[in-house]
């Protein structure tokens, strides 16, 4: 989004996308509590943050490496259920459960990633979709373990003996995690790996000719995005205290991809904005009751037809043209 500025070495730190954007995001997170008054708004803000963490990771895969995934809710669901099961059934400390579940998801992504990422376009979309649906059906069916479609309770998150409780505390925990996720993503994007990913997005063959191991890079970013999803899923489980298979559903995978594309592909802050708008929007649309799905579907179509680049890059384009 600030591509032209990045090259400019004379720019002050606050104008570079990495530091400036993160400072702006930190400011928004710090000041938002002044505007939000009750626990309901805190709850919405926390869900925005959790979805944004998934989207920042997914954007690395979709926006930068150009590889679609229609199954990321599966990783969210595995992170959530893995953490919940280890913490409740096996009595693990919550943080250890979260780390172990995330490691498990990373391993799964690593194992299935290589054959899946050999595919392109629709075939890749379909393979990731199939993987996500299998995960979601397994979670719904193994009701002895997961409680089936009714869901299962999750013990609260305890960090170093302190129990994280209440919307206000969770707000800062999730806010901190989101900043960390954005910072990691931005660093990855501006590293040689990020350049390699952008190169293989433009043309995989040209990237290979230039000496980039595209299979290894794609696999790496796939695993990273799965880790982001698993961490967010685990946090969601501990925050809500209850988890249902809806988190792992095909529909949630679609919501996540829509957030990334709606906000703007290849823009980390676009992913955050997309997550924010599309998490808040259904909350507003519930006022429309029966019209909710119609309006949501229509908005998805209209944005993609009229703002194919997504909200943030389109607005940034207007801004740059206006400033000139």
């Amino acid at each position: 989004m600030f591509a032209s500025r990045r090259q400019d070495a004379t720019n002050p730190w606050w104008a570079s996308s990495r530091t400036g954007g993160i400072a702006l995001l930190a400011l928004v997170i710090a000041l938002a509590p002044l505007a939000i008054s009750n626990n309901y708004f805190y709850d919405v803000a926390i869900i925005v943050g959790l979805n944004a963490i998934v989207c920042v990771g997914l954007n690395l895969l979709i926006g930068y490496a150009g590889q679609i995934s229609l199954g990321h809710a599966g990783f969210v669901g595995l992170g959530a259920y893995g953490s919940a099961l280890l913490a409740s059934r096996y009595g693990w400390p919550p943080l250890a459960a979260l780390v172990a579940a995330t490691a498990g998801v990373a391993l799964l992504a690593f194992v299935v990633g290589r054959p899946i990422l050999r595919l392109h376009g629709h075939y890749l979309a379909m393979a990731t979709l199939g993987l996500g649906i299998i995960v979601s059906i397994v979670i719904s069916t193994e009701d002895g373990l997961t409680g089936g479609p009714d869901g299962m309770p999750v013990p609260p998150l305890a960090l170093f003996g302190l129990v994280v409780q209440g919307e206000r505390t969770w707000y800062w925990v999730v806010g901190g995690c989101l900043l960390l996720a954005v910072w990691l993503a931005q660093n990855l994007i501006e590293s040689p790996i990020g350049r390699a990913l952008r190169a293989l997005h433009t043309s995989e063959i040209a990237a290979e000719v230039a000496g980039i191991d595209s299979a290894r890079h794609k696999l790496m970013v796939f695993v990273v995005s799965a880790v982001f999803a698993a961490v967010a899923g685990g946090l969601t489980a501990f925050y809500a205290g209850f988890i249902t298979p809806a988190k792992a559903s095909f529909l949630h995978s679609i919501e996540l991809v829509t957030m990334v594309v709606f906000g703007g592909m290849a823009s980390t802050f676009g992913a955050v904005v997309g997550a924010a708008i599309l998490t808040v929007l259904p909350q507003v649309l519930t006022l429309l009751k029966d019209y909710e799905m119609v309006v949501f579907g229509a908005l998805m179509m209209l944005t993609m037809i009229f703002l194919p680049l997504g909200v943030v890059p389109t607005l940034a384009g207007y801004w740059r043209r206006g400033a000139r």
Partner: protein, 291 residues
């Protein structure tokens, strides 16, 4: 022959015929435009639900079926005109999201026009089961299989003998070359949405008396139809039919002999295995990458 086996075979072929019709819809649209229409399952739902409503108003069954197919085709044509055509240079991801948006929109609309309840459609010719080789088959299954054979015959006539059908086939082989010999590829895309919607609606009407219908039946049927299209080879018409039937059979046999709870997983597992080892499907053409 083992009667249980015959039973699974009949069930599998019935479900498989429905998957095949949905898969044909995917392949027809994919051939005309390289678009995967994620709203394909909604045509199945619109077909079934429209037929239920028309029958409820007292319309005779054949007219209700025809009416349902017409309604779904109009929706398909509108979808192409109002959404897909407006995004001519969109990439794969954008088009996937547009058609997914369309499917959510249509599902929401169905919820408003009809309701969230599950509706049965009366069978075409009674519900007294017929004994065949030790298995008991509902007459509707025979309607599904018969309709499938008729549709395959009609489609091969359409693609082999009519100008529009040949134009659609030509466009699928080489869009640019088709355009150069004077084929209106925009019209081909428009027609392919109408045809795909009609096939989906027929599937929806045929299966509604057996599995019943509701505003959200399109999601799973659409995804399984897609799995069938991939299994047979995306873009291949024979592949769509073979893929649908094979998927229906494997699903029915695994539900019978392995686990009925994991029946839905089978379709996607098979699809993943096919994608890993033979991405072009059973009958798909080998595609080369142009640099």
């Amino acid at each position: 022959m083992d009667s249980q086996w015959t039973q699974f075979l009949a069930g599998g072929l019935t479900a498989g015929s429905v998957y095949a019709l949905v898969a044909l819809g995917y392949s027809i649209i994919f051939n005309a435009s390289r678009v995967i229409n994620f709203a394909q399952g909604e045509f199945v739902m619109i077909g079934g639900m429209s037929a239920v409503s028309l029958v409820a108003t007292g319309v005779p069954m054949p007219i209700a079926v025809a009416g349902a197919v017409v309604i779904a085709s109009i929706v398909g044509l509108l979808l192409e005109k109002l959404a897909v055509e407006r995004a001519p240079r969109a990439d794969v991801v954008t088009l996937i999201i547009i058609t997914i948006g369309a499917s959510i929109f249509l599902r929401g609309l169905a919820q408003l026009v009809w309701d969230k309840a599950i509706h049965p459609l009366p069978p075409f010719s009674g519900d007294r089961p017929i004994a065949v080789l030790g298995a008991t088959i509902v007459p509707q299954s025979l309607w599904v299989l018969g309709a499938m054979v008729v549709i395959v015959a009609a489609l091969s006539w359409f693609f082999g003998r009519t100008l529009l059908g040949k134009a659609m086939l030509a466009t699928s082989h080489n869009r640019l070359a088709a355009q150069l010999v004077g084929i209106d590829v925009a019209k081909v895309l428009f027609a392919s949405f109408g045809l795909a919607a009609a096939l989906g609606a027929i599937a929806g009407v045929l299966i509604a008396p057996i599995t019943f219908t509701s505003y959200d039946v399109g999601v799973m049927l659409g995804l399984k139809g897609f799995a069938a299209a991939i299994l047979g080879g995306l873009g291949s018409f024979a592949g769509a039919i073979v893929g649908g039937l094979v998927l229906g059979l494997l699903e029915s046999l695994s539900a019978g002999y392995v686990s009925s709870a994991y029946k839905d997983v089978v379709a996607f597992l098979i699809m993943l295995v096919v994608l890993f080892f033979r991405p072009r499907g059973i009958l798909g053409a080998l595609q080369s990458v142009r640099v």
